[in-house]
Symmetry: C2
Subunit: 258 residues, 2 copies
């Protein structure tokens, strides 16, 4: 068991490509993550000292890799006992994978249908969210998100024109365009609430007025704190949900039931 794992990881570490800029600890944590995902929960890892010795790296570097895995919830660590594969949990809501990747993870085919991509005056909520000067225009992108050809969400994104002068340029990914323009979002915040479908919602989502909605408002920021995007997404509540994991904090479990 442990011999096989160490041999596989050692071989993978030894044949790293020159274009791979990941530090050792990142490479090790990625390799260990793959192993952990393929094995049963509860599997014990080799000790830190053994990994360090047999892989020819420092124990501190091994610990750094395990710190990453622990932060991602993939290992459970306890002083005096070897680290073990954690019970496997779903992806964290706070680090949502791309919408398309998320659907693929669920075995579905992603798609989209553009409703509009235009330069407009902002709605009051958009102006407020984006800290806009009076009469400042925005790029607004509206589309229906599909899963296996079925509509599951209506998405409306607003971006200041300074960052997206031509909304027509956006293909699949707004973020790719923003990154190319040198203004990648680095942080964001979301509000999740429940609502009921309007007539328009129902029409676009092939549902009925009054059906449940999950409404997500998202605001994203540049590295210097300026808001770069404000998006509202209305998910068909009968077709979609969010999964998230709960992390211990400061050795104490924080919970709704405190």
């Amino acid at each position: 068991m442990a011999e096989d794992l160490i041999a596989r990881i050692g071989a993978a570490l030894a044949e790293v490509s020159p274009s791979d800029r990941r530090p050792i600890y990142r490479r090790l944590s990625d390799l260990l993550a793959r192993e952990l995902r393929q094995g049963p929960a509860g599997t014990r890892l080799p000790s830190e000292r053994r990994l360090a010795r047999e892989l020819g790296i420092s124990r501190v570097t091994v610990r750094r890799a395990l710190d990453e895995l622990s932060a991602e919830g993939l290992v459970l660590r306890r002083r005096g006992a070897r680290s073990a594969a954690a019970v496997r949990l779903e992806k964290r809501l706070s680090s949502l994978t791309g919408f398309s990747d998320e659907l693929r993870n669920r075995g579905m085919r992603p798609g989209q249908r553009w409703l509009s991509r235009q330069v407009v005056l902002p709605a009051p909520s958009e102006a407020l969210a984006l800290d806009l000067a009076p009469a400042e225009k925005i790029a607004r992108l509206e589309r229906v998100r599909l899963a296996d050809g079925h509509p599951i969400a209506i998405e409306r994104a607003a971006v200041p024109l300074a960052y997206l002068p031509d909304p027509g340029l956006v293909g699949d990914s707004l973020y790719a365009i923003l990154a190319e323009g040198g203004t990648p979002p680095v942080r964001g915040a979301q509000r999740i609430r429940a609502g009921l479908m309007s007539g328009r919602d129902a029409e676009l989502l092939d549902s009925r007025p009054g059906a449940p909605l999950l409404i997500v408002e998202r605001r994203c920021f540049l590295a210097d704190g300026r808001p770069v995007e404000f998006t509202e997404t209305r998910y068909d509540g009968e077709s979609y949900d969010f999964l998230t994991e709960l992390q211990p904090q400061n050795g104490t479990y924080q919970s709704e039931m405190a």
Copy 2:
């Protein structure tokens, strides 16, 4: 500025109480967190080397503290430039504060009304979620959560009897009881979806049938992976929402719009 900050932190580190079991890095990160929360976003911290020198600790320890702050989204770090206070974001959904604390943060008074606390046979979903043997009973706790005296959520928790032999013992906090019994949950997962109120929901929540609900299912685990709790909470969708932040990962921003 930096002199004041270093003096305050140095003084606080020097007068630590013997009962304080936190390691140095944790103490430093807690102290820095408090400073960062009280100052404007964008404020620059002293360099790692200066903090280490003037506080009389190792730079590696300083880095460890800053790693924690970075993971919590309180600082932005960039090679070659001093770390800065990040734009302040709301609490992470993945580390929900206690329900009561959350309400207090919103300036509301928390409360509750017990519907039942009893030993029962589990519903199929509960049996599945808790990996129960056939005919194994559970403790089930059902209550309405109040904010300023108004009902906002219906909560139904199921716990295997092995961990909670007497549900009547639960006052405000199920988790406190579990911790006292030596079986504290250390991890969990949640599913968030939208729904519509039933007649019973509407009656308990002073609303109307068909009104929107935010439904949260939570499953929590012991350190060894055994499930210890399965809870469904039905929030009045017109009174409550979730706030969450988005984190960069691996230097690349993950997003729904990828």
